[in-house]
Symmetry: C2
Subunit: 192 residues, 2 copies
């Protein structure tokens, strides 16, 4: 459902350049740029996933600055945007949280810039979001992308953005923005 | 022309929260996130505009890290993306550079999240980019947006993204990504 869209940014498990599994470092922009994008497109919650307690602590400090510290007075828009932000240790926790809110498990969407077979197109997924009753959770990777073990548990595998371009290395911040705009566009929906 | 699209990110002159004119601080992500987006959409050059020599020096150091330093080996994609990146002191310098490359002044596009009258729609501007012969320069603001004095010299004033949403405070990184995707989409063009 268009008013039950959730986004998660995965920092673990993530592929490293050499194919091994790592935890990636969180950047400030992963927190506030993506929160602002999600809030603008009426995403219900934006989850940042990191298994490292020290990373989660940094995130909590940044969020506190913008929601309770100097930043909350100076730039109250950012406070509004961070209202939908959540931090979790594992993807399983995110799925559980959504199930608790909605009473049903979300349909999960895998995204990647790499060419793959059996992908759903943006226009097909846009229809699914409008017609299906289920909540939708869209996953985005960091580093060199999400591993196969995550793709296997997903219900949909979304086509890449500009796969035919001679260069399609968008930042994840840009990929989230373009994906939500292609799926939701100018449609206004309020979270139920 | 679709293969003569240029982007500029303005750090001066910019509106401060109180309406006065300031120079805003550059962030790393203004450099590499937007370069990657522009490169993905075959933008010919992405100009960052700052009138402060100390800021331009920081930008040059960041660019050097990714094009000649450790970053160029570790992440060569970023080096490719930064090939189209340029830094200039003033908007006038950007216009002059484009005129030198193209032999003709660019048509200039103003963007803002604020509601305004007499705007061009994304679909209209998309047609202009495909049909007109002139190069196109799309301007994006930082801080609290670009002042009226910049809007007055622009040929087109582009409609805001999600103006009807109860929140439309996208980061400029997200706004650039969505704007280029709406105007160019999956169309492949190579720079002439």
């Amino acid at each position: 459902m268009i008013n039950k869209v959730y986004v998660a940014l995965i920092h673990y498990p993530i592929l490293k350049k050499d194919g091994s599994i790592v935890s990636t470092a969180v950047t400030n922009f992963d927190i506030h740029d993506i929160s602002r994008t999600c809030r603008t497109y009426n995403v219900k919650n934006y989850f940042l996933v990191s298994n490292l307690p020290a990373q989660r602590k940094i995130v909590e400090r940044v969020v506190e600055y913008w929601t309770k510290g100097f930043g909350s007075d100076y730039n109250p828009n950012r406070k509004d945007a961070l209202d939908i932000f959540r931090i979790e240790s594992y993807l399983e926790d995110v799925i559980e949280k959504i199930e608790k809110i909605e009473g049903i498990k979300p349909k999960i969407v895998f995204t990647s810039a790499k060419p793959r077979n059996n992908v759903v197109t943006f226009s097909e997924l846009s229809q699914v979001i409008r017609r299906a009753e289920d909540p939708i959770l869209i996953l985005f990777g960091t580093g060199w992308g999400m591993p196969e073990e995550i793709r296997e548990i997903c219900d949909y595998d979304l086509e890449p953005i500009r796969a035919k371009s001679d260069f399609n290395h968008l930042s994840v911040r840009a990929a989230v923005a373009i994906t939500l705009d292609r799926l939701i566009g100018e449609e206004i929906c309020y979270n139920s």
